[in-house]
Assembly symmetry: C2
């Protein structure tokens, strides 16, 4: 049986309950969205650029050529928020933005403000790095999200017109095109699913096949001496890729596009490329936080196992990209190891990108800070804030995968979800306290008995667990591909309790990572911990772990919106650790993830 | 870094020390080889057929058309034995056989006795099921083995002439050919490596590509109503295969051939087929003993999760085939899960194929016996005894994989091995008591310090372990793809001690296996256990396990050549379990692997 039939249960069908992630959704609504709105329409000219491009406002284009995409990503996040929590005022704001966007669309469907306004006389569709395709891609994603959330399809029609225009300009017998910042590929597959029109799938496929043959032209990348085609993963055909290289976010979106096309076509060479790339990325180039990208210079990769902690780039967008990609790999292969990476990003590398109050963001997520690295409300290149604005409200979509044989529980997040397995309607409720406690209670509501598989992900970090079924311990559940597999005739009211043991653990890096030689990191369940000097004036520089070091976890409800801290008892004194995602939410302070370890 | 560079350390470089497997090698030498010799030259006409085919003996062909292959497989086993333990008498016997074989070779290189002798007037190279290619394949394997063991290449020259003859008969522009019993593909890749002549690799590749297009003809398979092309995996092109089907041993050899060609060519569609087939085989169609093949009818497969215990076919040859195939998958992917399957066969499904004294063999390995199923000295179709005769002495070749970056320790077997990692000569010694105890001490001898990875397989059954390096506990070793990864500058005399916890475990089958519903099996480390009625007159039918059942392991040195037994304390009384490989070595007795379990 091919796992190519696995789909996510859409976040719209997953209602989060009180708990860690519901709090994040509240903060998203209360702070992240308003921050994005303010920074698109008031603090910057992003919205005004559309009005100017439409001839409805005076003045020149202001900003960077790809700024349109932030508006689309913000709209996507607004749409996801509206989908679960209607809000007429917010919807009205979005409609206003969409009207401004639509008004700027050219006769032929083209819509990139920078070029419409003729900045520097730059011609369209000439320099492939100018993010025109990138803007189209995010427009498509935002427009589909908005249609699903509100039923309104004005934005979608704009996106379709722009996509059709692009399809007229490039393609066989027309212009070559290598997407200078990959994104459009995955968006076109979404558009294919939305419209049923296969031409979008073919175009996505064509775009992937255009890469690696020397067709890429543009001053920003191909013409730039120290970057070259590798920066945008244009150095070899996608079927021949073996190692992650170049710009991290571009790589992530490219791999998403490969997954999406491979899922439709079963393309063997894509599947194998993806497997090689996953090993390269996760096994050789990923930080323990899930962050990727060791170099500021190309916002990407240097060499295998080169993972400096202080100069780690670990762009927030790329961590979110890792979640997007690994979720797709999970749907392709039905293997829990991919959902393990999604979990890692959810609780560490992506989550650290936003402050606890939702008002500030990291672009860069280092694993060591000298105390001068802080979140900001916005950036000139604002991809990271808007990325989180669309990622956070969609988190519910990562909980479950399903097909007509069963359900795969990928994330343990308190919620109620409705899904359909074969002929059975199933409502599955989770109650738990992740990431603080490893116990989760799942209960099923069914209108009638039904046979199906219930697959519970056994996280890679979990060494011990206990499972019970309707109150009785269930010994030795069958394990397969990282899941505990239960298959039986389920009845309304069936309850499963899974208790994942969550001791504090020390973890080593891959032994080839010289940057972490002689050091360990501390984890507990899915969380990676760090030490801030604020909590450790005496011991920040002197604490050393040994095999005898003991650790005491402690719930501190008043600290950092409530966290489990871990105190290490070392010879030099106590070292207090907090979850990495929560660092830089108090006064400026040095921070480190890797702690010296004496064998 | 591609794992396509991984190779095994040849068994010739691995000297087994006193212990479980060294004992098996002794029994192989003392009993299995003589049994094969006697049954090839005295008790049957296999050797005489060659003499008759050469015109050096009177009389008709006697036996089955594929009987030549048993001689080749026996010779292969003899060669492997000679490689580590020279024996002039045995070598002389082999040379006599080879002389008889060579004398039967026709002018054009052809050599299948049945057809040379014109049995029933059957023409050569017409009915693709007649095992002509199969005999050639085993000849090649035996001949290469003999050359490596003795330096003598007479047999190899015979094989090359026969292979070249076949290459003249079939191929592009010549005859289509679908190997009716796959084997030749993997043998041709061996011949390619042996001779450096690429034509053998191309021929192997061509043979694989011939499959699944309707070219197969022959009364024995394609013409047989209830078998059809699926029986010999000829129902679809190899690139499109998704599920294991048909005859089990054929499937195993086909998959070996696919691995071998894919390793040379990197063929993406082969790699993906193999991944799908592995899931199909191991996750949906394999017994807990590692046995495969649920049906006597086609000596193969019925449907996913259909695993009857009493009528399990589980041909010994197929269990060995699983080891051959999974070792190749390990070399392709560097993942310990494949070596886990090799281990499973070594200690269970393949090993049960031979009696403790080495004189009798199972063809069929059921998981339930009514007491009437027993090993025999030989069979009309003698593939299983000869399969074990070549498998057992080659076991040393499964211990290690290596490339120029490191060593992968795949099996824990007391031994000393010499290998070469990059520029370093390394001698690695293992001391342990597998499968009875989980502690293994590894020590390294080096002529000079060297950096390399030492990867220790963490078996899938192992939930807890302890590692120490030069006497000190080594906490939290990095785990990757089923291995504990140590990377450091190694010095002469370095010692690593790995202690794998080996409690008695109960195990469930995949919940869709109805045959095992309400039952559990007992394992301890790599061993699967069973109950024989001999030990359990009172409780064989009445013992039921519950979550409270306790188990007591006990070493019994005088039982079954020394085994750890496991006694289950149940309400009905004690149920004594022995390792599955050791069943049917005493008086006739009922036997079962799966025991009723009350939740």
């Amino acid at each position: 049986m091919s796992k190519n039939d696995l789909k996510n249960v859409s976040f719209e069908k997953v209602q989060l309950s009180e708990g860690f992630w519901k709090e994040k959704l509240k903060i998203h609504k209360q702070a992240v969205i308003p921050t994005c709105i303010a920074n698109c329409e008031t603090n910057t000219e992003r919205i005004n650029n559309f009005k100017r491009a439409a001839g409805k406002m005076e003045g020149d284009f202001q900003g960077i050529y790809y700024d349109d995409s932030d508006v689309y990503k913000a709209l996507e996040g607004i749409a996801y928020s509206l989908a679960v929590q209607p809000d007429p005022e917010l919807e009205q704001k979005a409609d206003e933005w969409i009207d401004a966007i639509a008004a700027a669309q050219q006769e032929d469907g083209y819509l990139v403000c920078y070029f419409i306004m003729g900045v520097n006389g730059e011609p369209r569709w000439t320099d492939m790095e100018r993010h025109e395709d990138y803007c189209l891609g995010h427009m498509i994603e935002g427009a589909i999200a908005y249609k699903h959330a509100t039923g309104k399809d004005k934005f979608l029609q704009v996106a379709i017109r722009f996509a059709d225009h692009f399809a007229d300009v490039v393609g066989e017998g027309k212009k070559h095109w290598v997407t200078g910042h990959e994104e459009l590929e995955l968006a076109l597959v979404k558009l294919y699913h939305e419209t049923g029109n296969e031409k979008y799938l073919h175009l996505a496929s064509w775009l992937l096949e255009e890469r690696g043959h020397g067709y890429g032209v543009g001053n920003g990348i191909w013409g730039k001496a120290d970057w070259g085609p590798k920066y945008a993963q244009d150095d070899k055909p996608v079927s021949e890729m073996t190692d992650i290289a170049g710009h991290a976010v571009r790589a992530m979106y490219l791999y998403c596009g490969l997954c999406d096309v491979a899922k439709e076509t079963g393309n063997d060479s894509y599947l194998n490329s993806l497997n090689r790339l996953w090993d390269s990325t996760v096994l050789r180039n990923m930080y323990i936080t899930g962050g990727i990208g060791s170099s500021r210079d190309n916002e990407g990769f240097t060499a295998d196992y080169d993972l400096p902690n202080d100069t780690a780039y670990c762009e927030t967008c790329a961590a979110v990209g890792m979640a997007l990609w690994n979720n797709r790999m999970n749907l392709l292969h039905g293997d829990g190891k991919y959902a393990d990476v999604v979990e890692k990003e959810l609780y560490n590398g992506a989550l650290s990108g936003v402050s606890l109050d939702g008002k500030k963001f990291f672009y860069v997520n280092p694993l060591f800070s000298d105390g001068t690295h802080h979140r900001q409300e916005w950036y000139g290149t604002a991809c990271c804030p808007t990325q989180l604005s669309r990622f956070l409200p969609s988190v519910g979509g990562y909980l479950y995968a399903y097909d007509n044989t069963g359900i795969w529980v990928n994330q343990y997040i308190s919620s109620t979800a409705k899904l359909h397995v074969d002929t059975a309607d199933v409502e599955i409720t989770q109650n738990g306290n992740f990431p603080w406690e490893g116990k989760v209670e799942l209960s099923l509501r069914l209108t009638q008995e039904a046979f199906f598989e219930l697959n519970l992900r056994l996280p890679g970090w979990c060494k011990e667990y206990r499972l019970s079924l309707n109150g009785r311990e269930y010994l030795a559940p069958y394990e397969e591909k990282g899941y505990l597999k239960l298959y039986r005739e389920w009845s309304d009211g069936d309850r499963v309790v899974l208790e994942l043991s969550m001791p504090v653990e020390i973890v080593r890096a891959h032994p080839k990572v010289k940057n972490d030689e002689g050091m360990v990191a501390v984890t507990r369940g899915p969380l990676v911990y760090c030490a801030e000097e604020i909590d450790n004036q005496e011991t920040f520089d002197t604490a050393v772990f040994t095999p005898d070091t003991t650790f005491t976890p402690k719930w501190e409800g008043d600290l950092l919106n409530g966290v489990m801290t871990v105190t290490a008892h070392t010879k030099a004194g106590e070292l207090k650790l907090i979850p990495y995602y929560a660092w830089d939410n108090r006064e400026a302070s040095r921070m480190k993830v890797w702690i010296p370890f004496e064998e």
